[in-house]
Amino acid sequence: MIKAENVHKSFGKLEVLKGIDMEVHPGEVVVLVGVSGSGKSTFLRCLNFLELTNEGVITIDGKRVNQKKDDLAKVRAEVGMVFQHFNLFPHKTVLENVMEAPIMVKKVAKSTAKTTALEILEKVGLSDKADVYPNKLSGGQKQRVAIARALAMEPKALLFDEPTSALDPELVGEVLQVMKDLADEGMTMVVVTHEMKFAREVADRVIMLNEGIIIEDADPDTFFNHSTNERTRQFLEMVNV
C-alpha cells in the first residue's frame, strides 16, 4: 500500500532521514517509535508529501510518486493524515470540517457529503456535536473530529502523527479507542506515537527509528519482549514498559 525506498531528507545541513526503507501492506497497522529527533514525524510527513524527500522513492498503492511532476493534491487525497494539534478549521462547524474536502476535492454533492459526514461523526461518537464550532470541543473530541474529517475522504491509508500527545491523560483513551476500531475494520495505518500500550495491542509491526534510520522492525511481541537491539532496550526502559 505504502512503500518507501531509500528515503533521505535534510533540513539545511541537518540530515534527518538517512535512507529509510519501509513497506506497509494493505490492512496493516504499523507503529513508528523512537526518541524525539529520531526522524519519525518527518518520515511520516514525507509519506504524505508535506515534506518532500531529497532522495528516494515513495510508492502509494502501486504508483511511484514523482514529487516534481505529479499532482500531489491527488496523491494526498488518497492518504489521510491526523495531526498532533488536530488542526481543525476554526471558522467551520464540525460538520463543515468533515464535509469540506469531499465537496471541494471529490466534487461530491452537498447533500451526499452531509449524509456521509453525519454517518462518520456517528461512528466516532460525535453526531451531537455536528453544528458546534471546534473551540467548544475538548481535545479528545477535536481529535475524533479530525479523524472523521480524514475518513470522509475514504482514504486508502491513514497516517497519525502523535495523535494523543497534545491531549490531557484522561482524554487519550477515547481517541485510541477510535483508532483501534479503525484497525479492527482493516484500515491501513501508520502511527507515530508514544502510547506503547496501543503499539503492543493494536500494531502488526513496530518500527524503531534512531538518528534517521530504522534500527528495528518487528512484531510487537518480539519488539517489546525479546528485542536484542541495545538501543531498543534502552528506549523501552526509558518509556517504562
Binding site: A73, F83, A146
Partner: protein, 223 residues
C-alpha cells in the same frame, strides 16, 4: 473674543454652512468608500503576490509598496491626477478616489500579508493533507481566517482613509475640506469654520468606529 461670543459665531457658522457641508460630507463618504473598495482589491492581489513563490510577482509587489509608502499621499494624488487625466478624461472626483485607493492598496496589502502569514501553518497542512490544492486551501481555509484577523487593522486603515480623503481638495474636489476652505475664504471666520469641519470628520469617524465594533462583536458571537 469671549467664550460666549465664540459659541455664538460658531453656531452661526454652523447654521450657515450645514447644507453645503452635508453635500460635501456625502462626497467624502463616497470617495472614502470607493478608495476602500479599490484599496482592498489591490491589497488582496498584492498581498498574494508578495507571499507567492514567484520572484517576479514578489518584486512587483515590493516595488509598489515601497513607492507608495515612500512618497507623500498629496504627491501621489497630484501625480496620478495629472498622469491619468493626461491620458483619459476623468472627473477630478474619480481621479482623487482612484489615487486614494491605490495609496491604500499598499497599506492594506501589508495588513493582509501579515494576517495570512499569522495563520498557523497546521491549517494549510491539514487542508493540503485532505487533498485540497493550494488555491482551494487559500480560498477556503487560510484567507477566511486571515480576513477575520485583519478586520481590526483594516478598520483602522479605513479611518485613516476617511481622514486622508481631505487631501483630494488639492485637485479641486468639493468634499468636506475643500468646501471648508472655500467657506473660510469667503466668510473670514477660519477658526470657526475649521472647527465645524473637524466636528464633521469626528462624527463620521465615530459612526464608523461604532459600526466596526458592532461587526467585530458579531463575528465573535458567530464563532
Amino acid at each position: 473674543m469671549t467664550v460666549p461670543e465664540l459659541f455664538v459665531t460658531f453656531y452661526n457658522v454652523f447654521m450657515e454652512t450645514y447644507k453645503g457641508f452635508l453635500e460635501a460630507g456625502l462626497l467624502t463618504i463616497e470617495i472614502t468608500a470607493i478608495a476602500v473598495v479599490i484599496g482592498t482589491i489591490l491589497g488582496v492581489i498584492f498581498a498574494l503576490m508578495k507571499i507567492s513563490n514567484s520572484k517576479v510577482l514578489q518584486t512587483i509587489a515590493n516595488l509598489y509598496i515601497t513607492l507608495i509608502r515612500g512618497t507623500p499621499l498629496i504627491v501621489q494624488i497630484m501625480f496620478l491626477y495629472f498622469g491619468i487625466t493626461s491620458v483619459i478624461i476623468l472627473e477630478n472626483f474619480w481621479a482623487g478616489a482612484i489615487a486614494l485607493g491605490i495609496h491604500n492598496g499598499a497599506y492594506i496589502a501589508e495588513i493582509f500579508r501579515g494576517s495570512i502569514q499569522g495563520i498557523d501553518r497546521g491549517q494549510r497542512e491539514a487542508s493540503l493533507a485532505l487533498g485540497m490544492n493550494s488555491s482551494q486551501t487559500m480560498r477556503r481555509i487560510v484567507f477566511p481566517q486571515a480576513l477575520r484577523r485583519a478586520i481590526p487593522p483594516l478598520g483602522n486603515q479605513f479611518i485613516i482613509t476617511l481622514k486622508d480623503s481631505s487631501l483630494v481638495y488639492v485637485i479641486g474636489v468639493s468634499e468636506l475640506f475643500g468646501v471648508a476652505n472655500r467657506v473660510a475664504a469667503s466668510n473670514f471666520k477660519q477658526f470657526e469654520t475649521f472647527l465645524v469641519v473637524g466636528l464633521y470628520y469626528l462624527i463620521l469617524v465615530l459612526i464608523f468606529t461604532a459600526l466596526l465594533k458592532w461587526y467585530e462583536n458579531k463575528l465573535d458571537v458567530d464563532k
